[in-house]
Amino acid sequence: MNSALPSPADYTLTAPLKLLIVDDSLVIRRSIERHIEKWNFASIQTAGNGAIAMEIFRKEPADIVTMDITMPEMDGLSCVEAMLRIKPNVQILVISALADKSTAVEAVKRGAMGFLLKPFDAAKIHEALQEMIEDVV
């Protein structure tokens, strides 16, 4: 089944960027990690809720963050705002299943640079993350 996914290996970073993946689902965290494992990120960290994510981010602010919205402890959109206060140029991609239109608008209004609706396939996550990277570089 692995072979069914388009290979992300053809994309490599030109700058050493740090990535933080925030999602309460382990499956999703591992899945995103696999999608970009060959992109040569300087570091990849993951967090299962907003509180852990902030702890990691305070210690080592990432350049790019993927952010779930519905999570225990601290919701994703509060996280987005808190991270932007620490590092205003952080590129945050909000990944959520919340399909009502106001969620996406709210996320971008609060500072997310991109919005990706769950479920997503390989092509969609690659495109969304590459957009984030382009804006940092």
Binding site: L26, V27, S31, L98, K118, P119
Partner: protein
């Protein structure tokens, strides 16, 4: 619940599998039941609040969830990941359903049952 409410979940499920598995699932004929809806190895529930109350269960056999995990590129199939997967699917379908049901109608309170003996571990 009305037919339309259920349709949004069916649509969400169909969309989920089309996206993740790359092929549209076969939707079986619906039927009514009074007994315990949990007949799979792993089950997640989505509670619908508001004027129309109810719950939507996502329940699946171990093999089925393993196939889905495979589709995610996963090669580990422990119970934690299987339960996580079921929860994520239910969550996603619930989130998608908000498009038509609105945020007040769908709660994403989640129960994942690892097996029948311990239906709601959280």
């Amino acid at each position: 619940m009305k037919e339309q409410d259920l349709t949004s979940f069916i649509h969400g499920t169909r969309n989920y599998f089309s996206c993740v598995m790359g092929s549209s699932p076969e939707i079986g004929t619906p039927y009514l039941f009074d007994c315990n809806p949990i007949h799979g190895d792993f089950t997640a529930s989505i509670h619908v609040r508001g004027q129309r109350k109810g719950a939507v269960f996502f329940t699946a056999k171990r093999e089925m969830i393993q196939r889905i995990l495979e589709a995610f590129g996963e090669n580990k199939y422990d119970d934690q990941l299987l339960a996580d997967m079921v929860g994520e699917i239910a969550n996603t379908i619930a989130g998608n359903a908000r498009e038509s049901l609105g945020d007040r109608a769908v709660a994403t309170a989640l129960r994942v049952a690892a097996d029948l003996s311990s239906p709601f571990p959280h």
